[in-house]
């Protein structure tokens, strides 16, 4: 099993087409929508995490391209320096995807990189600067 995070850009005329649901069904992939931004006027933008076999991912994404959707890997990664994070919680309400979340029982702040869309909002908002951009 492999995971891939990709940015999908739809031209206007494809927005109503169920490309993603076909992709998921026909290539046996698991889908995690990280960010969706579709307005009637502009193109659609979808940041997704896909999980499946290498072969299915490759074929599925090739098929998606054939439908006229631009597929780009999520290039920048935001990572957490685990030694530097002091679990303060200043990032919790900044992160739009709950990639940074607090476990209520221990009050520890966890980072789930699979949910991260690399928006970088947490980077300057983290007081000890534990969140970093990696290229």
């Amino acid at each position: 099993m492999a995971t891939r995070r990709v940015v999908l850009r739809y031209p206007r005329h494809l927005i109503d087409e169920p490309v993603v649901s076909h992709l998921v069904k026909n290539y046996d992939l698991e889908l995690n929508i990280l960010r969706a931004n579709i307005t009637p006027e502009s193109e659609g933008l979808l940041v997704v995490g896909l999980e499946g076999s290498e072969e299915n991912l490759r074929q599925g994404l090739a098929w998606t391209r054939d439908q006229g959707v631009a597929v780009e890997p999520l290039e920048r990664d935001v990572v957490r320096d685990e030694d530097r994070c002091n679990h303060c919680g200043a990032c919790l309400t900044i992160c739009p995807t709950e990639a940074l979340y607090r476990e209520v029982a221990t009050q520890e702040v966890h980072f789930d990189s699979d949910r991260c869309v690399a928006c970088e909002l947490c980077v300057p908002a983290c007081p000890p600067r534990a969140m970093k951009v990696e290229f």
């Binding site: 002091n86 679990h87 919680g89 900044i94 000890p128 600067r129």
Partner: protein, 404 residues
């Protein structure tokens, strides 16, 4: 049956002391009642780990040849105060590195400052010292530029005028149009979030609300080493409003603390950048509270749900001193992830690390169990609720032009 400091210290030396953290004490008192808990437990440890802006380091870097009277100094390009004797400098946690764009392009990032210099000194990193003097007969040198290391300094003392706030406000933003950038973190427009900053039930002064056992000369955990309380902190406000359990319902008591940075650990002394606000220093502090009697057992069993904090608007309320709190909320609620304000669900964030506070209380407990940390009775109490001492706002008096 009351206990004395002497008896507790004898038990520490004898290896038979019973120590629990302030978190664990809640269960002990729940089970045994305050009298039973007071009989069983000798010491309760507390902890807090949060940005504390009123912090700084006092260094003496030794005399150069020829000698200089450093009237101005910089450590890694962060300005330090030189209005002291020749080679003494004080670097404050919130001093920003020279040339930083500050908030010219708002919000500024504030990547480096005094708090970071203090962390690097504690970590044993070399730090660049520049100093200038105006030249005197006894101190002829005018410029100095050298690397220094904490181990080579004569003294490197953490000297913090105000730490350890007893309680604190919960910060929100009522402005509907604009996010704001404060020392309480980024506050999103229109009640987008609520940020708090206290270790609550683990916090030092919330476990001894009337400062019965903490005062001048109290030995504490400071930045991973032993430190001391040397005075009430600035803005110490013991007469602030209190709830029925004696716990202040907002910022109240504070402590001034001092310790040897050469003994400290950078894990507990961390430079931080507050987006759009400035730089600061996150300081780890813990106290060891002697359970002298039932009353102290009861105080140290305080729970998050019994401690309330005022909700304050930082868009107008705080900066312009307008209006009162929007309400009060307890720490259990705050830690659950969201609170209700004006009938709306508002997600919570925080600046004080509860897991680190717990770790500090655990370390201090361990030191005491191993006989490495003895309690010290204050040589002088700090003002308490009956002192009449309160925190005053500035009364500005117009300055008249000078008549010649």
């Amino acid at each position: 049956m009351a206990k004395t400091y002497q008896e507790i210290n004898d038990r520490i030396r004898g290896g038979e002391v019973v120590v629990v953290t302030a978190e664990e004490m809640i269960d002990v008192v729940d089970e045994k009642g305050p009298a039973g808990a007071a009989a069983q437990v000798d010491v309760v440890t507390t902890g807090t780990f949060a940005p504390m802006c009123s912090s700084g380091a006092l260094i003496n870097f030794g005399h150069s040849t020829p000698r200089i009277r450093a009237s101005e100094g910089w450590l890694n390009d962060v300005p330090a105060y030189g209005g002291l004797a020749a080679v003494d400098l004080y670097i404050g946690a919130t001093a920003v590195v020279e040339g930083d764009p500050l908030n010219a392009q708002h919000p500024g990032e504030f990547r480096y400052g005094g708090g970071h210099v203090i962390e690097e000194l504690v970590a044993g990193k070399d730090v660049r010292l520049r100093a200038s003097g105006y030249g005197t007969d006894c101190y002829p040198r005018r410029e100095l530029d050298t690397w220094i290391n904490i181990q080579d300094l004569n003294e490197c003392t953490l000297l913090n005028p105000r730490n350890c706030y007893q309680n604190y406000s919960v910060a929100v933003n009522l402005n509907e149009e604009r996010d704001i950038y404060t020392y309480m973190g980024v506050l999103k427009r229109d009640l987008g979030n609520a940020n708090y900053c206290s270790a609550g039930q683990l916090s030092p002064l919330l476990n001894d609300p009337y400062y019965r056992t903490i005062g001048i000369g109290s030995r504490i955990f400071l930045g991973g080493a032993e430190g001391y309380v040397f005075w009430p902190g600035t803005q110490h406000n013991p007469t602030a409003a209190r709830a029925g359990n004696g716990v202040p319902k907002g910022g109240a008591g504070t402590l001034a603390v001092v310790g040897d940075m050469k003994q400290m650990d950078p894990q507990w002394m961390v430079g931080v950048s507050m987006y759009g606000y400035g730089v600061s220093l996150t300081v780890g502090i813990g106290t060891a509270i002697p359970i002298l009697d039932e009353e102290m057992a009861l105080y140290t069993a305080v729970k998050d749900e019994d401690i309330v904090a005022p909700i304050v608007d930082y868009s107008r309320g705080y900066p312009y001193n307008e209006g009162g709190p929007l309400g009060y909320v307890d720490y259990k609620r705050l830690r659950s992830g969201s609170i209700q304000i004006n009938g709306r669900e508002v997600p919570t964030g925080s600046l004080s690390s509860y897991p680190k506070a717990r770790q500090i209380a655990g370390i201090l407990k361990d030191w005491i169990q191993r006989g490495e940390f003895l309690l010290s009775e204050p040589v002088q109490q700090i003002p308490s609720a009956d002192s009449g001492v309160s925190f005053k706002p500035l009364r500005e008096r117009p300055v008249q032009p000078e008549v010649s």
